[in-house]
Amino acid sequence: MKRWLHQHRYAITVAWRRLRSQPFSSLCNILVISLSLAVPIVVAAVLDTVRPVVQQIPVSAEVTLYLDRSAAAGTAEQLGAELRERHADDIDTLEVISREKALAELRRRPAWSDALAVLPDNPLPDAIVVTLRQHPEIASTSDRLSEEWARLEPVDAVQVDSAWVQRLQSMLDFLGMGLWMLALGVALVVLATVFNTVRLQALTQREEIAVARLVGATESFVRRPFLYLGALTGLLSSGLAIGIAWVALQPLGTAINRLASSYSAQLSLQLPDGMSLMLAGIVVAILGALSARWSVTRNTPF
């Protein structure tokens, strides 16, 4: 057991020495990996911050039902009463706007009055404006009700006024999916960069590897420093990536906060929690070690 520990200690020392022996090259590799890693960290930070805030944005989900113009007078009031009774739990307020009232409203606006004057009759339909009660699943409720109401006989069209919230939510979901794709891309960057670094290192250390084998080194002994080199590269890159992401989040946070304040919301962009970052660093280190193992096995055949 002690021998095994001594061999690991030696491997770590050798890996560190190799990393320091070519400082510029090592730094470039670490920088490439860390810049790639910083992108998903920033995206994750934005998503983590924005998602809960979007869910809290006060949205008065308004659903407007436009009735068929051929609907008989009084149909809108009758339908409004029915809806109020049938969906009392979901409806907060309900207002029936008759086509005459809507026309009168439009005529009061100078931009519309001239246009309306040339029309032979009232082009507007009766409308029912429904404001839904606030709850976390308001988006799905407005979807369900608007679909149901669109099928009603006198209803010609239904318009959901809070659709932008849903679009934003969908966009965030899309970004969340994109984050996984990005993470996959970064994993490939880590694999490729470490593979190439270790390939070059194995070529440089060819003589040392040959001598080590001559004096009885096992294949594990030969490969071990390269595995640590890959893992160390991964760990150092993760640390630097966290630093880069933190720096990038400062101006980004100010800009996003300005945008959020226009929706009466407060945003404070922060790095993902420490445990997630630590796990990500470990995963990157493992990826680096695996890539190094693959590379050294291919490039130093016995």
Partner: protein, 222 residues
Amino acid sequence: MIEFQHVFKSYGRGRNILADINFRIQPGEFVFVSGPSGAGKSTLLKLIGGLEPPSRGAILVNGHRSDRMPPRARPYLRRAVGVILQDVHLLYDRDAMQNVLLPLAVAGLSPAQSQSRARAAMEKVGLSGKEGLNPVEMSGGEQQRLAIARAIVNRPSILIADEPTASLDEDSARRIMDVFRDFNRVGVTTLIASHDRGLMASYATRTMRIDAGRFTDMPGTL
């Protein structure tokens, strides 16, 4: 103990470098292998050191069939055999001490143990005080002695050397041979490939002559 039984070695479909080699070397012997260049001396040593497998035949080193050893076990055989190749294969990116420490790191010794053993090995080959020198700063004879220190630091039971005095003047060559003789006197089986008849006459207890892959003069042939 080293034993070859009907050993053949060829590369690809080429001619036999070694053909039907049979011999036995008892523990503690000091044996020279002589012969002209290209006779197969180096190949013979590489087979003993487990650096290459035979094409046919059985090789026993310290009672183990090295030709049948799985690749994972071969490194452990190499630790029991100190090998000094014609090209000393020193590492020029580190000092002499670091070169000698490498086999001890391979064996997994603690840094303190390694330091003490490496110093002792350097002292035995007469390189005390030169631990901090880079091998490139050393003479040919010193480099050869450094390679010997690296080969013996793990206390092998067998020491094999391929033309260790080839590029040295007579004085340096004798100093190197004295080092080998000293190790042999404490029980290390020593096998040296050389074509220097003067050295053989002074040091050998037995000489095996090889030519074109076959023994031509071989006391102790099986």
